[in-house]
């Protein structure tokens, strides 16, 4: 099964100061599907994403993008095949929205027309008026910044999208709207995606599959229905119920 996987994690382990953040994680993500990593704070879901991005080095095990293992020598080439979106978009404040999106194109020596054409295309895709691209991040709203962040991640048409709580800092209405758009875009572009979120509903909405983490281990992996109807552990039910209470309380 790992043969055709877009992203493979094998026996992945990482500890900080002797405390294990994740321990022996095995996961794979099939091409063109979205896997949502959910779990309480400290469950290790962000550590997994950071290992995949090459921002951390595993103590044990490996990350493979397609058939290439993540390592010091392969890191940069692999990163050009990834798009990375974080909370608030992670935009550089000294560059305009356009410059943020175009940065890697210019860095890779793209012709000006190609850069402009691609940025225009992406603006249409995420639904951002082109004239707003001249603005600086400080002049954009949180939702707009997030759309620019997504454009930047998509510039090089990467195989894999890494989404780290991408909608975490937004208010509920804008968040719901962006969730719809994000699902639409990921499906339309047929991207493989790894999404980290603490929100079960978001995971169920955006993910084809969900992996629920607790204390550095995968407790259960499956569809949202699997987790709800066939919980592998009382914790799964407990976590889902806790989230529902929260949802109902809003």
């Amino acid at each position: 099964m790992a043969e055709g996987a877009a992203l493979t994690l094998r026996d992945l382990s990482k500890s900080y100061d002797g405390h294990a953040a994740i321990e022996g994680i095995d996961l794979d993500v099939a091409p063109r599907t979205t896997l949502a990593l959910v779990g309480p704070s400290g469950s290790g879901k962000s550590t997994v994403l950071r290992l995949v991005a090459g921002l951390l080095r595993p103590d044990r095990g490996e990350v493979r993008i397609g058939s290439t293992a993540m390592g010091e020598s392969s890191k940069r080439a692999l990163r050009l095949r990834m798009g990375y979106v974080i909370q608030e978009g992670g935009l550089f404040p000294h560059l305009t929205a356009f410059e943020n999106v175009a940065l890697m194109g210019r860095e890779l020596g793209w012709a000006w027309d190609r850069v402009r054409g691609r940025v225009g295309e992406l603006a249409g895709l995420v639904g951002l008026p082109v004239e707003w691209l001249a603005r600086y991040p400080a002049q954009l709203s949180g939702g707009q910044r997030q759309r620019v962040g997504l454009m930047r991640a998509l510039l090089l048409d990467p195989e894999i999208l890494l989404l780290d709580e991408p909608l975490g800092a937004l208010d509920p209405l804008i968040r719901a709207r962006l969730q719809e758009d994000l699902r639409d875009i990921v499906r339309r572009l047929r991207k493989t995606a790894l999404l980290v979120t603490h929100d079960m509903a978001e995971a169920a909405y955006l993910g084809d599959e969900i992996a629920l983490l607790r204390d550095g281990h995968v407790v259960q992996r499956g569809s949202a229905r699997d987790l709800l109807e066939r919980p592998a552990d009382p914790f799964v039910t407990e976590f889902i119920r806790a989230q529902r209470v929260l949802e109902a309380g809003r």
Binding site: A53, G54, L55, R76, R79, L80, M82, Y84, I86, Q87, G90, F92, P93, H94, L95, T96, L103, M104, E107, Y136, P137, A138, Q139, L140, S141, R152, L156, L162
Partner: protein, 494 residues
């Protein structure tokens, strides 16, 4: 036209065959006058002579002589015994000569006047208390004394004097010499230390107390010169030594009065002194106008600031970058530059003289060192306060380390880095006024002379351009910030 004059002054003619003689003098009028006189005599004897005025203090000027930065300067026998030989007795001139000869320094014959220390009392106070001799001070511990720092510190100064006369040492006020005259005139102090040839004594009617226990040694004025001058510039040396035995107290006091009271240039006073002492007229060299002088000081000042600041930027920014990459290196480098910052500027200048001589060299090094810290620290802070999430975003985007530094880190840190440069530049403009103390010129030159002469106008001639220069530098960096700092960083978030 004025610029041409400045250029002509800066590029003084150098005749290959003429020996070079550099005359030094300390930072007070009598020393300037004797220095000018020696310079004129050496020049008349065919040497290419230059006068480095205002070298701050005995240690600095003596170090300059030993290191060869200057060849000759006027000194006093009492000072030689105390400061250079650390002698507690009263060595004879022959003994002093023997001691200094081993260091390659010769002492000429006395010029003819004794400029000793004395204690002078305000006329009203002296009259009221009947003070005539130093021993009369003992029963009056209530008198307010204003003494120079050098006099307070020397064994043959206040500590020794108080002991010899049984005067309670008390807590005399440490005050700059020329300011003490101002203070005693205004009635702020009752007594002060004076040099017996000071022109102000007579002008203010001060009563110089008789040294009835012969505590003060003689301070016969002599020229100190490097032994190699005998072979290198024998004619110039002989010409200078013609002054020996020719200047008595009356002549010296009169020459001092020309500068201090009549506000004449020291060169003119030196010419009058030469005429009186040697009976020869000297056509005074054409003096530049005050405006040309000021321009020259300004150019010197700008050059000091520009070169030292540029060097500090060229080195400080990379040091800041390296520090931001290694916490251990950061600790070492930042502590080092903080330590440099705590060294008083005068101490740093004095420390550098044995290695670099006097003049622009040590001044540039000192200014460079002072400029370094704000630039290193601000570069370091600017780079290390960029949010980690943004740096990670840059990495995952696929930027190389070099591209990340140039495209992301330096632009984001640019406001902090520029602010550091601005701080350095403004501090540098102010500190550079002290460069005059070691013969590097600049706007400190008129300030220093103005303090010596109690000439506020002359002080302002240096202080106002220095202040304007600081403002201009500040403004220039504000403009530079507009040009360099990306617009996005000046916007406030929603």
């Amino acid at each position: 036209m004025k610029w041409l004059l400045v250029l002509a002054l800066l590029a003084s003619p150098a005749f290959a065959e003429a020996p070079r003689v550099t005359v030094g003098s300390k930072a007070f009028p009598e020393s300037w006058i004797l220095g000018e006189a020696a310079t004129t005599l050496a020049r008349r004897a065919g040497a290419t002579a230059e006068h480095r005025r205002n070298l701050g203090g005995t240690e600095i000027v003596y170090d300059a002589l030993r290191s060869g930065s200057i060849d000759v300067y006027p000194e006093y026998t009492g000072t030689i015994a105390e400061v250079m030989l650390h002698s507690h007795g009263r060595p004879s001139l022959a003994e002093m000569r023997a001691a200094l000869r081993s260091q390659g320094i010769e002492i000429g014959e006395p010029l003819g006047f004794n400029d000793s220390y004395g204690i002078a009392v305000a006329p009203g106070v002296a009259h009221r208390l009947g003070l005539r001799k130093v021993s009369d001070l003992a029963p009056h511990p209530e008198l307010r004394l204003g003494l120079t720092h050098e006099f307070l510190g020397r064994a043959d100064g206040w500590p020794g004097l108080a002991r010899a006369y049984g005067i309670p040492p008390g807590h005399p006020l440490g005050i700059q010499h020329e300011l003490a005259y101002q203070a005693i005139q205004a009635g702020k102090i009752d007594a002060m230390d004076v040099y017996t040839t000071d022109a102000w004594i007579e002008r203010l009617g001060l009563v110089v107390l008789e040294d009835d226990r012969a505590f003060f040694p003689r301070y016969d004025a002599v020229f100190l010169y490097r032994s190699d001058l005998v072979t290198r510039a024998p004619q110039a040396l002989a010409a200078i030594r013609r002054l020996e035995g020719k200047i008595d107290e009356t002549r010296m006091i009169r020459a001092n009065a020309r500068v201090v009271l009549e506000k004449r240039d020291a060169a003119l006073a030196a010419d009058s002194l030469l005429i009186e002492s040697l009976g020869t007229a000297e056509s005074a060299p054409a003096r530049a106008s005050r405006t040309a002088d000021l321009l020259r000081y300004l150019v010197q000042h700008l050059r000091l600031v520009a070169i030292s600041l540029l060097a500090a930027i060229v080195l400080g920014v990379p040091i800041g970058i390296f520090s931001s990459r290694s916490p251990a290196l950061a600790r070492v480098l930042l502590s080092f530059s903080s330590v440099v910052q705590t060294i008083p500027s005068l101490a740093l200048l004095a420390f550098l003289i044995p290695f670099l001589g006097i003049g622009a060299g040590p001044a540039l090094v000192a200014l460079f060192l002072y400029s370094l810290l704000p630039i290193v620290r601000n570069t370091y802070t600017g780079l290390t306060t960029i949010p980690a999430a943004l740096l990670e975003s840059a990495d995952v985007l696929g930027l190389t380390a070099t591209a990340r530094l140039w495209r992301i880190e330096l632009p984001m840190a640019s406001p902090a880095i520029l602010a550091g440069m601005q701080t350095s530049a403004v501090i540098n403009v102010g500190t550079a006024t002290l460069a005059a103390l070691i013969g590097a010129g600049g706007l400190g030159e008129p300030i220093l002379s103005g303090i010596q002469l109690r000439d506020t106008a002359l002080i302002l001639e240096g202080a106002i351009p220095a202040a304007l220069l600081a403002l201009a530098v500040q403004g220039a960096f504000d403009l530079l910030e507009r040009a360099v700092v990306p617009r996005g960083l000046r916007l406030r978030g929603d």
